[in-house]
């Protein structure tokens, strides 16, 4: 699959498989198009070449109605949470249930409370999104993403900007949900230790290409200098820290 924004190539003929009931991580430096990849999988963007299939359905060949049917089986945790700001936590989680099911309100209430309990925020059901911390927003968004019991959940940078406690809770939650609900999970992140601790398979993306793939152990033991630099977070290596520029001394004296 290839995808460009204007003249900039974001993905250049990449190919990847997401295994059922496993946690697949997509990692790479900032700006490599990890979020774009999730939007392509969700059918919000269209590849300029190639196909994306889910359960045998070519996502971009589906009619709008069929695409929406498919999306009911996908959950997505946005980086910002993307909670609807004019309704409270309870109504945010009830929203997809009210839209897509004919369940009565008492059943919806039970389901919402169970989802909120799973993320530890049953007591916060009456709060508005503006009253939540970043970590709480992410957990509410996670509860909403699993409201319709999807078969696949996509997590966009779930750990970014979290304090250690929230991060630990989120790592645990994603791991537990994958174990108990047998979800197929795609985690997009550049938080290396947290993501590696819960992943079954990892793809490393850079410069529009997949530069490495394998299990966390395989990548840890890789002797590829790019992989080692990314995993260890070293400034020196094949990935330059500085944007292309003239030498500093030349710049200062010019």
């Amino acid at each position: 699959m290839s995808f460009s924004r204007g003249s900039r190539k974001i993905f250049d003929d990449i190919s990847l498989d997401i295994s059922r009931s496993k946690v697949t991580a997509i990692m790479g430096p900032s700006g490599t198009g990890k979020t774009t990849l999730l939007k392509l999988i969700g059918g919000q963007l269209k590849p300029e070449q190639g196909t994306i299939t889910m359960d045998g359905n070519n996502v971009h060949q589906l009619s709008r109605k069929d695409l929406y049917q498919l999306r009911k089986r996908m959950g997505m945790l946005f980086q910002s949470g993307a909670l609807l700001t004019d309704i409270n936590v309870f109504d945010n989680i009830a929203y997809p249930l009210r839209e897509h099911t004919d369940l009565d309100e008492s059943m919806i209430r039970s389901l919402v409370l169970m989802k909120l309990n799973a993320v530890g925020l049953r007591g916060a059901r009456d709060l508005m999104p503006s009253e939540l911390s970043g970590g709480m927003s992410r957990r509410v968004a996670l509860a909403r993403a699993i409201a319709l019991d999807p078969v696949m959940v996509m997590y966009d940078e779930p750990f970014t900007g979290q304090d250690p406690i929230s991060m630990g809770v989120l790592v645990n939650l994603i791991h537990r949900m994958n174990q108990h609900l047998r979800l197929s999970s795609i985690v997009v992140s550049h938080d290396v230790p947290e993501t590696m601790s819960i992943s079954d398979h990892i793809y490393l993306i850079s410069g529009g290409k997949i530069v490495a793939k394998g299990s966390p152990e395989e990548l840890e033991n890789s002797d590829d200098p790019w992989v080692q630099q990314f995993i260890a977070g070293k400034a020196d290596g094949p990935v330059p820290f500085h944007f292309a520029a003239d030498p500093l001394m030349q710049d200062l004296l010019s």
Binding site: K39, G42, Q44, Y68, Q69, R71, K72, M74, G75, M76, F78, Q79, S80, A82, L83, L84, T85, Y95, P96, E99, H100, R144, L148
Partner: protein
């Protein structure tokens, strides 16, 4: 010289392309309307924020416009001994022109800018994308109820503007400059034609309402999701909305009252 011509050409093409995008956008919204009509709650919520919350500014502006009209009419008409016709001038001006036009301008400034900011913020905080991924169509749940509410709110606001304007004129004419109360109301009644004056004014307000909310919702949806982009989109809504009201007013007036 060639560069300037090229620049004008580029701008013209960009404007036509944007108009085309906005038309397709409106068409997509109109396709989702049946789904909105079966959810009246969505519309009433938007009627409150676009209509009810604009009411105060409409009441205050309408009263003062009516008072000023009456005062200016008196200063002119008194020289001809025709000051009794104040109400005719006040009522006809408000119904035919000032009611729909000033309500439209205030609506673009108050409700239009709020709509653009709200939708632009929903876009920048990924709420619209979030709805898409929940298999909920934002065109139907977010855009269409706002278009419909604006379409319904504008004629009601215009009618209120005209009513309080006539009352403002009454205060100045009767209690200010001493016109006989019976003359004020009887002339206001006899010189107004229901279809030519009131209905044409209402038709104008419906057209203005639709155009303003169309511009506001499109600008919000099309805004660059940054604070600067949002500010620019809000400004465009007020400027384009106001200019559209004034331009369309000329066109509609020529069609309704003139021989052009």
């Amino acid at each position: 010289m060639m560069n300037n011509i090229q620049l004008i050409g580029h701008k013209l093409i960009a404007t036509v392309a944007r108009l085309g995008q906005a038309t397709v956008f409106l068409y997509q919204i109109l396709l989702t309307m049946p789904g909105v009509l079966i959810r009246p709650k969505l519309i009433t919520k938007q009627l409150y924020s676009t209509g009810v919350q604009t009411l105060v500014i409409i009441l205050v502006a309408g009263t003062f416009v009516g008072m000023v009209l009456a005062l200016q009419a008196y200063y002119v008409l008194v020289d001809f001994g025709a000051e009794d016709s104040i109400s005719q001038m006040v009522v006809l001006s408000l119904m035919r022109e000032l009611g729909p036009v000033i309500t439209g301008l205030l609506f673009a400034g108050r409700a239009g800018s709020a709509l653009t900011a709200e939708i632009g913020l929903m876009k920048s905080t990924e709420q619209l994308s979030g709805m898409e991924m929940m298999a909920v169509d934002p065109m139907q749940r977010v855009m269409a109820p706002r278009i419909l509410a604006g379409f319904l709110a504008m004629p009601i606001l215009t009618a209120i503007f005209i009513a309080v304007g006539v009352l403002g004129g009454y205060l100045v004419a009767v209690h200010g400059v001493g016109i006989y109360e019976g003359v004020y109301w009887s002339l206001a009644q006899t010189k107004v034609d229901f279809y030519t004056d009131l209905m044409n004014g209402m038709i104008k307000s419906i057209v203005f309402g639709l155009v303003i909310v169309w511009i506001a919702v499109f600008e919000g949806h099309d805004s660059v999701p940054t604070s600067e982009g949002l500010g620019q989109a809000t400004t465009r809504t007020v400027v384009h909305g106001s200019l559209a009201v004034l331009g369309l007013d000329f066109l509609l007036t020529a069609l309704m009252f003139g021989d052009i």
